[in-house]
Amino acid sequence: MSSAVAVPLTGVLVASACALLGSFLILRRMAMMSDAISHAILPGLVAGYVLAQGPNLFAGFLGASLAAAVTVTAVEALKRTRRVDAGAAIGIVFPAMFALGTVLVTWRFSDIHLDADAILFGNIEFVAFDTFVFNGQDLGPQSVWVMSGLCLLNLLFIGIFYKELKLTTFDAGLAAALGFSPAIVHYALMLVLSITSVGAFSAVGAVLVVALVIVPAATAYLLTDRLAVMIPLSVVIGAVAALIGYRVAIAVDASIAGAMVSAVGVLFGLALLFSPSQGVVARAWQNRRNRAVIASQMLVVHLFNHEGAPDSEEESSVEHLSDGLRWSPARTDMAVAGASRRGWVVRANGHLELTEPGRETARLVLAR
């Protein structure tokens, strides 16, 4: 398989495998926990390589899974002591693990496959040269096999335990009452995440794994609020970003992993700005409209409250409005115009009078 096929294919597979898990991690508020895990697997990976006397895939997976288990357990234990908060617990454990890994790398073998750059941003560029040979037959790039396997694993994991994952994510108490242990689901998810991280680690490095895990899911969450849509959508977003990133990286001759993550960041930015429901632009537009309606509502409530009171004469004068409500003349005009247009008030010699629909509106607004 040539690099022109193997590299983008690996990218898409890595992004898909990562994105599959992202939705649950985002909804469980474990984004930083996955950041911690992807860093903390380093010492396990190195230790595995040391024991296997070379970059053995299986030893790497085993060591990394153990390191991830240590990390998750240590963070949970630190939280339980109540001596530090959750964020600090994460911030104590993962740099320590990462530092340990770095020391191991420099200490044991500086000539090993893992150089500094590979740890931080992987070497997806070279995946085509690392082929999987079985019975003397070249079966294509190892990374394609590994990442396909991880995609399948994650798909199976989510498919089989969908109900349990969903229940423990939204209502851990209910899940426990129904006999689904939230702790077991939690550790299982962490295990699958750490295995995925190891696989992705060699392609895109420690920090960028996190981006591919959580950012597509976060982007999808801005576009839909249905979990069943969110998961496939995040996979599509991750895969598309991988392809765009590959093209960009080739064009500007820069890191493919970096370009993939930049692409996913851009997609997130677009969703953040333009999502129809959550987007900043849609929200601003909605607020603008709301502001006009609410100003008119405030006006009728104000008139309604003072109707029949001794000061109603003064309170209903158009001049008083700016003064009493501390509104700018422009805002007052907007409110009066809006309320008139809706037929809530009529103007009579410098005063505003509520109409029956106007009174009804005020009652409705206050009754809610």
Binding site: M298, H302, N305, G324, W327
Partner: protein, 273 residues
């Protein structure tokens, strides 16, 4: 709305209400949580603000203290804007609003009450320490001055907060649910304090949740549910009709009041299904 005899508590020569809200609407993210509130709280009164959850009680006092955004209307404290009267106001936030594991002791928290008068950068000295000690003594907390705050009981923590407000040496004290989750001793201490403050001509405004104890503690009442339902002298205002107007149809109120919360809740429920 009653605007009837307002100033029966006011000392002669100061007919200005302690708190005066005019056409006040408070909105979070463009959504009003208080609608067109007109309210005068007479100087020298012990006022309770009562209403159901989500009625905007805390929002009302936060607006009065310049801590919430005003969509319309104005606030005055003793006739002037809050900004100019800050030194006249003592504030007791909800006890649950801070992290009690913060590394400090009771005396130090109480000294924070003097920071407002001190202003930027100036350090508290001996005078401030004495003020803080006196405030603690007044609440029976002198023995706990050097106790780490996480080692105090809930009631003792509440008394520390009250002492901090006392150290502000204010004319108006605004308290958010001071009676929540306190023991009998603390409840007694707070009531005594309220009475003593009133005797010294101070004004106290409390957000209160307990309808049963309210008549014993307060002499002025504000019933609030998104707008002012009724306000006035306690006995005259604390009527079954007013209370049912305040609390009645409450589920309906909650149902549409907080758009954001409802939308999020709905989203979560939908995801769950």
């Amino acid at each position: 709305m009653t605007h009837a005899p307002l100033f029966e508590h006011a000392p002669p020569g100061t007919p200005v209400p302690a708190v005066s809200l005019r056409d006040l609407t408070v909105a979070y993210r463009e959504t009003p949580v208080l609608w067109d509130v007109d309210l005068d709280i007479p100087a020298g009164s012990l006022t309770a603000i009562i209403g159901p959850n989500g009625a905007g009680k805390s929002t009302l006092i936060k607006a009065a203290l310049g801590l919430a955004p005003l969509a319309a209307g104005s606030v005055s404290i003793f006739g002037e804007p809050y900004k100019e009267q800050r030194d006249l106001v003592g504030y007791v936030p909800q006890r649950g609003s801070v992290d009690w594991d913060f590394p400090t002791n009771a005396l130090d928290v109480v000294m924070m009450g003097t920071y407002g008068r001190l202003g930027w950068i100036r350090r508290p000295g001996k005078a401030q320490r004495e003020v803080a000690m006196r405030s603690l003594e007044q609440l029976g907390m002198a023995d706990f001055a050097h106790r780490q705050i996480s080692q105090l009981s809930g009631g003792q923590q509440q008394r520390v907060f009250l002492a901090r407000a006392l150290a502000q040496d204010a004319e108006l004290y605004v308290m958010d649910e001071p009676f929540v989750g306190v023991d009998a001793t603390t409840e007694r201490a707070i009531v005594d304090l309220l009475r003593e403050l009133q005797a010294r001509g101070k004004t106290v405004v409390c957000v209160h949740h307990d309808l049963e104890s309210a008549p014993d503690y307060f002499d002025w009442l504000v019933l609030l549910n998104v707008r002012i339902i009724a306000d006035g002298p306690f006995a005259a205002t604390f009527t079954p009709e007013n209370l049912s107007r305040t609390y009645g149809g409450r589920t309906h109120v909650l149902g549409r009041l907080d758009h954001e919360a409802v939308a999020r809740e709905a989203q979560e429920i939908e995801l769950r299904i």
